[in-house]
């Protein structure tokens, strides 16, 4: 299969940074052909950080290719509904998409591992696993079943635990808690006795303020204060145990990918890596300044009690055990990810955690 060969060539080359000799690269010469692509996304129009990051990805590609690969970016709903991004790129309605892999768990449960697992990788680790721990190869294998070539493209860094109108002191306080929290996080809350609800971001403010929900997580300080959530809730909890460094994704239709000459393929894959640096930098800077605003508001910023985090972690273990037992693809990916995490954690503790601790001595 020609397409698989191209993918194999790419993962050994541009993606891992260890290029094959130039003479072996297929289509290494630039052609003058101009490609006009559509990028559909899961993000609301002009969505800070995430949507802006997708637009930056398209702009970088256009700039680097001197306009030979032009990409029109569509917010969710403009061309297809946000959660049809995966299907639209798979069938070629759009050549490219931007979103998050865990939105596609209805297609394949294992997609969730490429975004975030509760109590999982930080942003540094998920890229380490992708590029130097075999993760990207597993990602490509899974998505090949759907006629898609996936790339990691951006990260929000650590997300927050959410906004609460009710103070959480014990695991008992989770019982009956009506919280806007999607995905695995929601499933875990449910097993802890809460009621996860699904709400689009734009409705969170009113739902919290009127008390129709008790709590909601969204992204982090930067995106959260854009919705005014610090004026709707009493408490803001950290850390975001459910999404500790989620990776975002760029999807490319497999035939569209194969049609690109090698230089444009390298431009796309490199732009995705560049956007990962840039977006994480943006979130780190803007979350920090937005947190100041929250600390100056009436909201109390609190850590979850250790007992609560321990309970959520124990349930996470149960949920993953069941997922891995019923889905072979998840089993294969989790085996790789959990072994990487075991080794990585010791290094992260004596490096990243230790330097942040040393600042406060």
């Amino acid at each position: 299969m020609k397409r698989r060969n191209l993918l194999g060539g790419l993962s050994a080359a541009a993606l891992a940074g260890a290029c094959a000799p130039k003479s072996e690269a297929p289509g290494a010469q630039a052609s003058n052909q101009t490609f006009r692509w559509k990028m559909v996304t899961t993000w609301p129009p002009n969505f800070p950080g995430l949507g802006v990051g997708a637009a930056n990805l398209a702009k970088l590609i256009e700039q680097m290719s001197a306009g030979r690969l032009q990409i029109s970016v569509y917010a969710g709903g403009e061309l297809v509904p946000p959660f049809e991004t995966f299907d639209a790129v798979s069938r070629g309605t759009a050549e490219m998409g931007h979103g998050a892999a865990y939105y596609w768990k209805g297609k394949a449960e294992a997609t969730q591992f490429f975004t975030a697992v509760p109590f999982g990788f930080n942003a540094q680790e998920i890229y380490a696993w992708m590029y130097y721990g075999g993760g990207l190869k597993l990602y490509q294998e899974l998505y090949a079943n759907f006629n898609l070539v996936p790339f990691a493209a951006g990260s929000t860094g650590v997300q927050m635990g959410g906004w609460f109108n009710k103070r959480i002191d014990t695991v008992q306080d989770l019982k009956g808690l009506k919280m806007r929290i999607p995905g695995l996080g929601g499933e875990i809350l449910q097993r802890a006795g809460g009621t996860p609800v699904t709400l689009p971001g734009s409705e969170i403010f009113t739902a919290l303020q009127t008390g129709s929900i008790d709590a909601a997580e969204w992204v982090g300080p930067y995106n959260d204060i854009a919705f005014g959530l610090h004026q709707a809730a009493k408490y803001y909890y950290y850390p975001g145990w459910h999404e500790t460094g989620p990776a975002l994704e760029c999807l490319v239709n497999a035939q569209a990918w194969a049609s690109l000459p090698a230089d444009l393929q390298a431009i796309v894959s490199t732009a995705c890596q560049a956007v990962s640096t840039d977006m994480l930098a943006e979130f780190a800077a803007r979350n920090a300044t937005s947190l100041q605003q929250i600390l100056n508001s009436d909201v109390e910023v609190l850590p979850f009690p250790d007992t609560v985090l321990r309970r959520l972690k124990a349930i996470t273990g149960e949920v993953l055990t069941e997922l891995v037992a019923r889905d072979p693809a998840s089993a294969k990916i989790w085996a790789s990810q959990s072994e990487f995490m075991r080794v990585s954690d010791q290094w992260q503790q004596i490096s990243e955690a230790a330097v942040l601790r040393a600042r406060h001595l």
Copy 2:
């Protein structure tokens, strides 16, 4: 000045990801001209992580440009001695260089702030400051005085505190300590009563084993075990208080930069951002596996006592106060960096530090 305009256009465009409209971009059309550049580096031949990262940068640029920008990479000493990289690129002997800004403190003391300050930024924060906190603009301003255009290009992540034959229990144990530690770290050790010595990496093993030095820092587990240091010393200390997330740099000669059409400029600046994701991922993965080897060796892996870190931090404050008092460029950059750090630290503590802590509950 045409060159400064180009720089201004770049920092508002490719670097910050917010491109000017295509019609305004100078030289936006790809030319068919082929550029053959030399990249001189400060790294030994085939140096893991750092030298390999510089070579990857050149390969990505060549791939993305379909060979229109070809870069021959030279290890330190192959074309010019390692520490003449800055001068060689400044005068145009080579068009490009790769190294670390703090090597050039003899040219301008303020260069040190673009690599690492003791008890300073982690890798996530230094990029946040560069791209969204005004750091890159200050970096470009300083280097414009030397006919150079600088880019952040790669990070090792947290470096380690070093290898010791003598156990460090109190600040008294630093007195008389003969340690291989360069730069600001060495100056701080000296004020704590130690004796910093300068040694190339290749001589550390023998010096430690024969006892001609008591201690040495190098990079981190991945690079350190390549020299067998776990077989030469008794203790391995963490964290690396002196380099908590150093950024590496790509230098471009200003005239060479101005000669590139806009698409090749975008390719160079984007490749630098991509290498930052890739190199940090490589270090995170390989440091983690190398640490396992060290934990399985006879070396004892220990944290520095809090009293020692507190003393080193207090001296860091003194050294920076003096530096800022005597050098206006350092004062300007440190004002920006320390204010960014003040705000950033609160976010890092409730995000990155908190998720690493939650894993161990």
